[in-house]
């Protein structure tokens, strides 16, 4: 059986982390190809429901990343996002959703290397955790997979 390849979805802001990931590219720093980036204007725009949707659809891990505090292009979107994450994480933890599968980070446009590190670390830790089968079971994920071969 092939080694488990985690599916990682990254929700990033346009101005810092997306640009940071661009810099990773420009700097030709290699990282695991398991991650797929979804671009948002700002972390403030990231709806917590989208994180759940990613798990619904079979993601094994999630990265949420934006500008460092005080560096937000929109001055305070990331502060608002952070407060939401605090409560969202707390609720996830309380309901038993695996918060170890959701990595939050600040990656600036200058931190190309940090982006590669974040991705690699997330892929490694999710690989360790294995497929998120508890959630997939509730989301009837495998059933969907096999129903039409």
């Amino acid at each position: 059986m092939a080694e488990f390849e985690p599916k990682i979805v990254a929700f990033v802001c346009n101005w810092c982390t997306y640009a940071g990931a661009d810099l990773t590219g420009t700097s030709r720093i290699k990282y695991a190809s398991n991650v797929r980036i979804v671009r948002f204007p700002c972390t403030g725009r990231i709806d917590y429901m989208l994180l759940l949707k990613a798990f619904d659809e079979g993601a094994d891990g999630i990265i949420v990343s934006g500008c460092h505090p005080n560096d937000c292009h929109y001055t305070s979107g990331n502060f608002h996002a952070r407060r939401r994450w605090i409560m969202f994480r707390s609720l996830c933890d309380f309901t038993g959703i695996d918060t170890e599968r959701i990595k939050f980070s600040w990656v600036s446009a200058a931190e190309g290397a940090k982006w590669a590190d974040i991705v690699n670390a997330t892929v490694a830790s999710v690989r360790e955790l294995g497929p998120y089968s508890e959630y997939k079971k509730v989301a009837k994920y495998p059933e969907r997979e096999v129903s039409h071969g």
Partner: protein, 341 residues
């Protein structure tokens, strides 16, 4: 067929349960969780509760699940392929401990699923259900089966109806249908021949509180009444009444899509919800709660008898018990009867 009456010893009930289990029957019976008695898959006889007036949810879910897949679909370049659910996968089920009002409800539900289109999935589920009715020895202030044509020992809808003959006593078993007979044939020894037992004296006394025919007639001229607003001011518009009701049959069709694949599912819906009738345009013919309350009563006591020749209410009283704000349907029906149009 003629109703065959047998005696089942109190102790034989567990034996019957075990025999049915040995015959790999799935048994749904009332059990308690979080203080609520509901029909659940019963593994052991000891888990089954007795002596309850009514389960908090009706047994309709076994025939009409709150969520059920109708078909799977997938899209490809060659077009769309649809795969219906395999009816063979639907299990044979014994519904144990159904009160006569619920058993009657099954008939009312069936009339909705068969009046024009014959709903294959529903009918298939129904065909695989054997209803073990249990007559009511007790009732409470919410019960009003007798006002809507039922009674605590009504055989309608049951395949077998058990009536306990006094506290801690044996059961009178009325074998009503072929399905019931089939059960008897699995454990013929447990069903003893008996003299004619007068079951009525063991049944709960449920007084007749209103005349449903009269109510129906009244409702025909009652549509514009202010009474609806008065009655429903405290209604908060949830769907608890509809979801515990044995006859409410409203459903929503949803596509759960995942890329090129997906499933179409049917799930319960309620006319009490404000968005139930919301049009795309933004217009909502039942814009306020009083209109939705009116719809609930009219549907059960006017539209259904008119179109399907059945009443949409079995008098089980569940909606009143479940209502978080004490909307008591019996009280409101009585007041409709009393109000002069």
């Amino acid at each position: 067929m003629n109703i065959d009456k047998r005696l089942v010893r109190k102790d034989s009930l567990e034996k019957l349960f075990d025999i049915l289990k040995q015959n790999s029957k799935k048994i749904f019976a009332p059990s308690t969780k979080n203080g609520k008695i509901s029909f659940r898959d019963a593994e052991k006889f000891s888990g089954i509760v007795t002596g309850y007036v009514q389960t908090s949810q009706s047994s309709k879910e076994v025939a009409f699940p709150r969520t059920e897949k109708i078909f799977d679909y997938s899209k490809s370049k060659d077009g769309m392929s649809v795969k219906g659910i395999d009816l063979k996968d639907i299990p044979e089920v014994i519904l144990w401990g159904v009160r006569p009002c619920d058993a009657t409800g099954i008939g009312e539900l069936s009339s909705v699923f068969n009046w024009d289109y014959k709903d294959e999935i529903y009918n298939n589920r129904l065909s695989k259900i054997t209803v073990f009715g249990f007559s009511c020895n007790n009732s409470d202030e919410y019960c009003f089966c007798t006002s809507v044509g039922g009674n605590p020992g009504n055989t309608e809808g049951s395949d077998i109806l058990f009536t306990q003959t006094g506290e801690n006593s044996d059961y009178l078993a009325e074998i009503i249908t072929e399905k019931g007979l089939a059960i008897v044939s699995l454990a013929p020894d447990l069903f003893e021949i008996t003299n004619n037992i007068e079951k009525n004296k063991f049944l709960a006394k449920v007084p007749v509180r209103f005349n449903h025919e009269e109510i129906k007639e009244k409702l025909d001229k009652f549509f514009e009444s202010k009474e609806w607003i008065e009655q429903s001011l405290r209604c908060i518009g949830c769907g608890a009444c509809a979801y515990v009701c044995p006859t409410c049959a409203c459903f929503d069709i949803q596509d759960e899509a995942h890329g090129r694949k997906g499933s179409r599912v049917r799930c319960w819906d309620s006319c009490g919800f404000s968005h139930f009738t919301l049009h795309t345009s933004g217009h909502n013919p039942r814009d306020v709660q009083s209109q939705r309350w009116r719809q609930r009563i009219m549907h059960k006591f006017s539209y259904m008898p008119e179109r399907l020749s059945v009443y949409g209410c079995t008098g089980c009283g569940r909606c009143s018990r479940a209502c978080p704000v004490d909307m008591n349907i019996l009280e409101h029906l009585i007041s409709i009867q009393e109000v002069t149009v």
